[in-house]
Amino acid sequence: MYVAVKGGERAIENAHRLLAHERRGDRDVPEVTLAQISEQLALGVDRVMTEGSLYDRELAALAIKQARGDMIEAIFLARAFRATLPRFGATEPVNTGEMQVRRRISSTFKDVPGGQILGPTFDYTHRLLDPQLAEGFVPDQPATAEASQAATPRVTDILGRDGLIESSPQADGDAPVGDLTREPLSFPADRDLRLQNLARGDEGFLLALGYSTQRGYGRNHPFAGEIRFGEVEVEFFAEDAGFAVPLGAIELTECQMVNQFKGSTTEAPCFTRGYGLAFGQSERKTMSMALVDRALRAGELGEEAVAPAQDEEFVMSHSDNVQSTGFVEHLKLPHYVDFQSELGLLRKLRQEFAEANEAVAMQEAAE
């Protein structure tokens, strides 16, 4: 037993040493810096911050470097880091209506107040690989234009003024804000918990579920009412200072999905909505999140819940890629004892099978 443990330790140590060597790659190639990852692989950093549930560009870049570009491994590292720091408290809720907008589009109103602002986007690119980018490409300085002083109100606020869309649910007095990092999940879950779960949920999982609703598995007839990306100020009520102190700004993406309307004999029909919010420029993520958020409201809106995207226990229990990868990948760890007992049982069953067949054969021979 002892010998086996020692052998395993040396093998593990050497495997990690080999990993560090492979991570570095060809040593004649310059080492990638955290600033390079943060600046030039910015959307990867945004994803690690969002799903790692930790806003810190430098740490997310370090996680990507350490994980050799494996995003789920990097997200795992970011999540684990959070446990090393104390939590001072919660910020004041951010006001996305006062975002310094870098991009803001609506697919529902061409002439939306504040305008359609494309910002830095892959939309309308031809998706052809660009050989120029292979090396030494120096892009032009961005064009500039006189900035408008006009406000950019949320599209849902504009629809809300005429009562054409349901209003957002307001805070329930003294009810604390649900926090799944502090209490284990239980069902049914309120919308605050669902949104927290979706915000840190795997982009690919939510994308597939969102897509499934579009293909008919829990259809909810969505329009991208608005997608906005930009900087939002963050304030924190500091007990020692006695007022809400500014912490600086973070980049956020918000998606307001406008969905099929509902009404009843007592309520005039109006559009319903789904909501997505994520760190950084995370458009696909927030759109998927908003589709799934709306799908999960099936029960509340009196819709028949028949599709996976409408099943909150299914969605919330499988959205977290750190949890998922933990359970899938644990299959790699030694299961020797489990396996030996299964093997013992299987051998016993096979022996019984063989003996039974032998008995039958002998009986047949005797007859």
């Binding site: 720091l85 006189e146 957002s168 307001q170 840190r200």
Partner: protein, 161 residues
Amino acid sequence: MSSTTSSTTSSTGPDSKQAQRKAAMAVLAHSAAADIAGLLAAIAVPAHENLREPENGLVMVRGRIGGDGAPFNLGEATVSRAAVRLATGEVGFGYTLGRDAQKARMIALCDAMVQSAALSGEVEAKVIAPLRVAVNAERARKAAETAATRVDFYTMVRGEG
């Protein structure tokens, strides 16, 4: 925060002092630590002590359902904080996103100076004001770049008319 009984005008009342402190803190939080340090080096920093040693931690960032509804927990952010006390008694607090604890300490020092009648003029003029110019310039640059990507549907209409 008790209301003052003296006939102070709104420009010198406690609310306006707090607004001035918040405005200074916002500029400082948006500035790079090296820029704050460079400007602080150019003024006579008063004697002070750390009331709270600079430290790193997390805050849970909250959003609102639908953008304007009930709050929910979005995810955490790294944050640094510190508190300093000047020899003359003013206590300043420093909070900033990120893990640069020394930046939080410099913000706390500036906040203490902003509260000092003797020092607020100098720290405002020689530290906060130049940083504010830089922060605003950066904001204006981004706004101008963004504005160039605004879709102008009206141009097409005029072209046809």
